[in-house]
Amino acid sequence: MKSSSRKTMWTVAALSAAVMMVAGACGSGDSGGAAEGGKTTLTFAYWGSDARQKLTEEVIKKFEEKNPTIDVEGDFSNWDSYYEKLATKVAANDAPDVMSIEIRGLSEYAGRGALADLTGKVPSADLDQQVLASGQVEGKQYAIPTGVNAFSMIANPSALEKAKKELPDDSSWTWDQWADLAKEISAGGGGVTGAEYNHNPGWLQIYAAQRGEKFYDGTKIGMSVDTLKSWWAIQTKLIETKASPSAAKSVEIGATGPEQSLLGTNAGAMGMWWSNQLNALSKSSGQEMTLLRMPKIEGATTGGMFLQPAMFYTASAKSEHAAEAAKLIDFLVNDPDAAAILLSDRGLPTNAKVLTAVKDKLPAVDQKTLAFIEEVKSELSPIQVPPKGALEMEDILKRNSEEVMFGRATPDEAAQKFLTEANAAIAG
């Protein structure tokens, strides 16, 4: 290359860099959320899929219409990196004004002083009081719940039909009956497995409640070694009788979401999921699904099922626009216009009035969910707010369950280990 063409190359490079810098600067718009011309700007953080992002942007626009002095900037992230991003921002004193959070993060963030006390700031008279209580920590309302969920058994009626089994009576069935049913379905051939492995703490919580034990007892785990052992015994029996897939396969599936589960791919008959995942399961399998109550231990006095808000809205303790943040939260949970746009995207609305207003607009699947929840409502246990450190609970449970499943540890050892680790996690 001759030196003149070399020079041209460098000049071109420098020029293009300059051009792109200008383009980049123009494209990035204004930074900083300070007030401009009398308007306040709020940041609103939330997670989800692209469907949720579109709906949220619509809702934001509606809010801005009703509140011309407030601008809202959505800070959207996918679920896996949501808390990481949120924690970084809080650490850097750059927390979003309104933050979505779910129940495990609640104690973490409230307990460490990152959230503002919303008692009295957000009108909550019309919200379901029982669910509202789940957003309180030490008597202060740190979070406003939205969307109620129940951890339930979901079954595929047509799969059951194919195996010539009937839908069980879910108000009285026991774990043994469920396990037997699953075994027979798997044995019936047709490529359908009766049940799926699940290490969701929700299941354990229900099981423990049936034995009269609480998952969290203050800042300790309220469950006994025996409860854990018999819970694991159910799972190992399922694997042994081929009622659920082998240990390795179960772990494989467990690392994915509803679309890749047995139920979601038409390869399974029953599984345990949150009620608001009914939609995803129905869609990916193309089949209609039914919600059922969880089986009970023989002789248990309570069903153990509980309601849990899908998520909460909170405000940052260090927000400079506390009043506006409260307004946004109020709009999201109490305003029928917001609900008309969001529908059940964030779970079923917690405001009874709003719920009645949008009931008919909900898609069929959600109506089913709603009907189910209303049916079981009276039997539900009160909600437990997990203490700090609960975010690790699923991992700790998963790991120790795997040790049992793969025969790496006896149920005794694993139960002891689980209790030690779990207690350590929530004590700190």
Binding site: E84, A87, V90, P245, A248, E392, D395, K398, E403, F406
Partner: protein
């Protein structure tokens, strides 16, 4: 490194700007001093962007992380000093930490040599002598593009899962395979394979390195009647050693810090029974999921010391096998 093949060298009479100096002499010729200062000054100008970047963007956060390693920092609250608490906990009370060290070490020791071997082999195969080489190179590079993508988890499960391709092929010859990805005994193996599969990056660097070797050397060698193998052993390999060294050093550094694949394939955890709990993955979980960022920082510094130590060893050993063109 003995060179038995003569290399045509053009030695123009080198009137050095700098009078020759026996090394180690304290008193230097004044002209030398001026020259040295000019050279140093020029060096600083060349290094200016890097210096600025170092101070503003790199050094500050690094020192901050060192400080944090002596604290209990939950990200949401102020950091509290705990002295060596994190370090003692790591080595004496945390079995998961030791597991992560073990897992990561096995990973590095096995996958780095394998990956580099493939990269070098393919680079040699795709260097010259065949039609359509740019096309082949791109094909072999593609996997590295997917290596960090979120789709890779699904793809890997499709191949190594209980109903995956590998088991399908094994079934054809009558072997029943397990769930390679979720069996604690083999999960790490699938990640090692994933790492080897993404050999495209070192391969490209090897390709570039091969092109740096002057053709004249080969010409002279064939004039001397050397065979292909001989040429490879005496020209290609020695002159490629700086690049081999580079790839080795950096692959070791990178593999010790391997995070994305393990994170994605295991769905955000450490794999079945922690069998794929990579060091940086555990670090991340401690920092962002358990809200113990101080502990994570301590882990980071321990890792840095380990890597620095290994790199130092690498550099010391390089004197024995790396041949640079700029040494006289």
């Amino acid at each position: 490194m003995s060179e038995s093949i003569s290399v045509p060298q053009e030695r123009a009479p080198v009137t050095a700007r700098v009078p020759a100096q026996p090394p180690g002499r304290r008193r230097r010729h004044p002209q030398v001093n001026v020259h040295r200062r000019r050279e140093a000054l020029t060096a600083y100008v060349f290094l200016a962007p890097w210096f600025i970047g170092l101070l503003v963007i790199t050094v500050g956060p690094i020192l901050a992380s060192l400080y944090l390693s002596f604290t209990d920092y939950s990200l949401l609250e102020e950091a509290k000093w705990v002295g060596l608490g994190n370090y003692t906990e790591m080595f004496f009370a945390d079995t998961r930490f030791l597991t992560s060290l073990k897992v990561t070490t096995i990973y590095v020791v096995v996958s780095v040599p394998m990956q580099l071997a493939f990269a070098l082999g393919l680079a040699l195969a795709l260097d010259r002598g065949l039609r359509g080489l740019p096309f082949y190179r791109s094909i072999y590079y593609l996997p590295s593009l997917l290596g960090g993508s979120v789709a890779i988890a699904i793809l890997w499960r499709k191949i190594f899962g209980t109903d995956g391709l590998v088991n399908g092929l094994l079934a054809m010859i009558g072997i029943e395979g397990t769930g390679w990805v979720s069996d604690p005994d083999t999960a790490l193996g699938t990640l090692i394979l994933l790492h080897v599969w993404t050999f495209g990056a070192p391969m490209v660097i090897f390709l570039a390195g091969l092109r740096q070797i002057p053709q004249s050397y080969y010409e002279a060698a064939s004039v001397d009647g050397a065979s292909r193998l001989r040429q490879f052993r005496s020209i290609t390999l020695p002159l490629l050693t700086p690049i081999i060294f580079f790839n080795l050093v950096l692959e070791v550094i990178k593999s010790f810090q391997s995070f994305t694949q393990s994170f994605i394939v295991s769905g955000g955890g450490g794999g079945p029974v922690d069998s794929t709990l990579f060091y940086t993955l555990y670090l991340y979980l401690k920092g962002f999921k358990s809200y113990e960022m101080g502990y994570a920082a301590a882990m980071a510094w321990v890792l840095l010391l380990i890597i620095a130590g290994l790199t130092g060893v690498n550099f010391l050993a390089s004197k024995y096998w790396v041949f640079y063109g700029d040494t006289k």
